[in-house]
């Protein structure tokens, strides 16, 4: 679904990660973990085609991303970020409806099919009770829930999410991981998530991409992950808990 070949990422002349040969397959929920500042968000945005790679190749479905139009990209990959959304007079449903952006015409008029996708996404994420409310009345967690519904409404084969659990309470976090697991398994989506919630990641992840402090990305199965000492070096605070 998504693969890289000798990819190097970073800003301007500063290389954060290089020699990346990654594959994200349909039906997988991959958790990208690592300490702050090693380039998780940058990697995510580069994979999403929003930042240009410093070198190497990025392919979506065996097609170089550079050759895709912005609409084609948006129909293939949805993104969830931690950016605060400030659009006070937008209703929850209108926000979710923005997920249909790559499919609607010039005026953004929604078809019956679009409406169905939106309704489905709202129900799927348990956002029915906030769908008709104005964004300015909602909490950060409720907004984040709507942003997740929006990504779902986008109906893309790939979803990349940067700390999607950040604004959620613990039941919310757990529910989100359950949903993502379900979307990967039943709808054969490829999902890549950065997270600090390792305990949830252990329960649901198909694979781990672990970035350590020296900027090396290791691809690990959950089994390897439990065994590996490497992640304990990366998160020293976890040594005390385990």
């Amino acid at each position: 679904m998504l693969s890289t070949e000798n990819l190097a990422i970073g800003h301007r002349k500063k290389v954060l990660l290089e020699q990346l040969n990654l594959r994200l397959e349909a039906g997988e929920l991959v958790c990208l973990i690592g300490p702050n500042g090693v380039g998780k968000s940058t990697l995510l945005k580069t994979l999403a085609g929003l930042l240009p790679p410093l070198s190497g190749h990025l392919m979506w479905n065996q097609v170089p991303v550079r050759s895709l139009s912005s609409q084609q990209r948006a129909q293939y990959l949805a993104l969830i970020l931690t950016d605060r959304v400030e659009a006070g007079f937008l209703t929850g449903r209108e926000l979710v409806a923005l997920g249909r952006y790559p499919f609607t015409g010039w005026s953004g008029q929604l078809t019956y099919e679009d409406q169905c996708c939106i309704e489905e996404a709202i129900q799927e994420t348990g956002a029915t009770h906030i769908a008709e409310r104005l964004l300015m009345e909602l909490s950060d967690g409720e907004r984040q829930r709507l942003m997740i519904a929006r990504a779902l409404a986008q109906k893309t084969p790939v979803i990349l999410a940067d700390e999607p659990t950040a604004f959620l309470d613990f039941p919310g976090k757990a529910a989100l991981f359950r949903w993502m697991y379900k979307w990967a398994k039943t709808e054969k989506k490829a999902i890549l998530v950065t997270t600090h919630d390792l305990h949830l990641a252990f329960s649901f992840a198909s694979r781990f991409w672990l970035i350590d402090r020296s900027g090396i990305l290791t691809d690990l199965s959950p089994h390897d992950m439990v065994q590996a000492e490497v992640w304990k070096d990366t998160f020293p605070e976890w040594n005390m808990l385990h």
Binding site: K45, A48, L50, S70, Q71, R73, A74, Q75, L77, A78, L79, L81, D83, V85, E86, A87, G88, F89, L90, E94, L95, L98, G99, Y101, P102, T104, W106, S107, G108, L134, L135, M136, E137, L138, Q154
Partner: protein
């Protein structure tokens, strides 16, 4: 869902337009508006050469500035953005001043419009660069006000170093009034604003996505680069052409988008763009009509009334920002 509210506005607008046609020192009875052959030559001239252009330029300016303000607030994602407040209209003044004061002799309506829009565009571009380096809603406003002062200073220096004849030309140029727009000017003003509003409305879809921020918009398939460039040009032309014909008009651009959002209870640009255009027109007409209240041909300064009408809105945003932020 609030679409029914939309149709109240044109009715109100017609009322204000009628008032604008009747307001003035010469008494023209209402029924003469329908029965024009009862008008004397003088009355007909006043109606068609003075009042109608004044009212129409109020409508055009209000619509242009209201929509320019809306575009800027979405673009900057800042409820305190506005073409006057961020120095865009000052930039347009600078453009006009450069043409008039360093005049090469080729002074046409078109060169004014071009210079005004370029000046506005330059100011807007600089503000965009600056906005990337400052956080905070209010700091952008402070930056804009400072920027406006700098441009004002440059204009003053230009005036200082210019020969008297050129200054004479500059002094004729209107400073915040709708009365200086002649019927011939309307042939430029009307189509440019009309096309500008239409283009703005066609951009409603990407504008809606831009409310989520640039990264989200990009991820939804918005060609952010081209949309931002179009917005820059569009806002500069709308604010620039208004400044060229009517001078800098304060507070309209910042207040109208908020009024439109509150009135329609929506953030959807497909409704907000025509909504801001209508509310802008009405506010401008209302203020313009108020300037004539002293009667007997005497006029109050338009921008003083604009400040009184617009300032409460700004204060309300500062104290209770609910329409854009939470």
């Amino acid at each position: 869902m609030m679409r029914h509210r939309f149709w109240v506005l044109p009715v109100l607008g017609m009322g204000l337009f009628g008032w604008a046609l009747l307001a003035g020192s010469e008494v023209i009875p209402v029924q003469y508006l329908w029965n024009q052959n009862q008008l004397t030559d003088q009355q007909r001239a006043i109606l068609w050469a003075i009042r109608f252009p004044r009212a129409l330029s109020g409508v055009l300016s209000g619509a242009a500035l209201g929509v320019a303000g809306l575009l800027m607030q979405t673009y900057f994602r800042n409820p305190l953005a506005g073409p006057f407040e961020l120095g865009v209209q000052s930039g347009a003044s600078l453009g006009v001043a450069v043409v008039l004061l360093t005049g090469t002799g080729i002074i046409s309506t078109f060169s004014h419009i071009l210079a005004g829009s370029l000046g506005a565009g330059l100011a807007l571009f600089l503000m965009l660069l600056a906005s990337r380096r400052t956080g905070g809603t209010a700091s952008l406003l402070i930056l804009g006000v400072l920027f406006g002062y700098v441009i004002g200073a440059v204009v003053n220096l230009l005036v200082f170093f210019s020969p008297a004849d050129q200054i004479r030309l500059f002094s004729i140029w209107g400073m915040g009034s709708f009365g200086g727009v002649s019927p011939a000017d309307l042939l430029w003003f009307g189509p440019i604003v009309g096309v500008g509003l239409l283009v703005a409305w066609l951009m409603a879809k990407p504008l809606n996505a831009l409310m989520l921020g640039v990264t989200y918009a990009q991820s939804l398939g918005v060609g952010v680069g081209s949309v931002q460039t179009s917005l820059l040009i569009l806002t500069s032309v709308l604010a620039g052409v208004t400044t060229v014909f009517c001078g800098p008009i304060a507070f309209l651009g910042i207040a109208v988008p908020h009024i439109a959002r509150l009135y329609f209870q929506t953030a959807d640009h497909r409704l907000l763009i025509p909504g801001a255009a209508l509310w802008g027109s009405m506010l401008a007409l209302f203020a313009s009509n108020l300037t004539l209240l002293p009667g007997n041909g005497q006029i109050m300064p338009l921008n003083a009334l604009m400040a009184l009408l617009g300032l409460p809105v700004i204060l309300w945003i500062l104290f209770k920002r609910t329409t854009l932020t939470s």
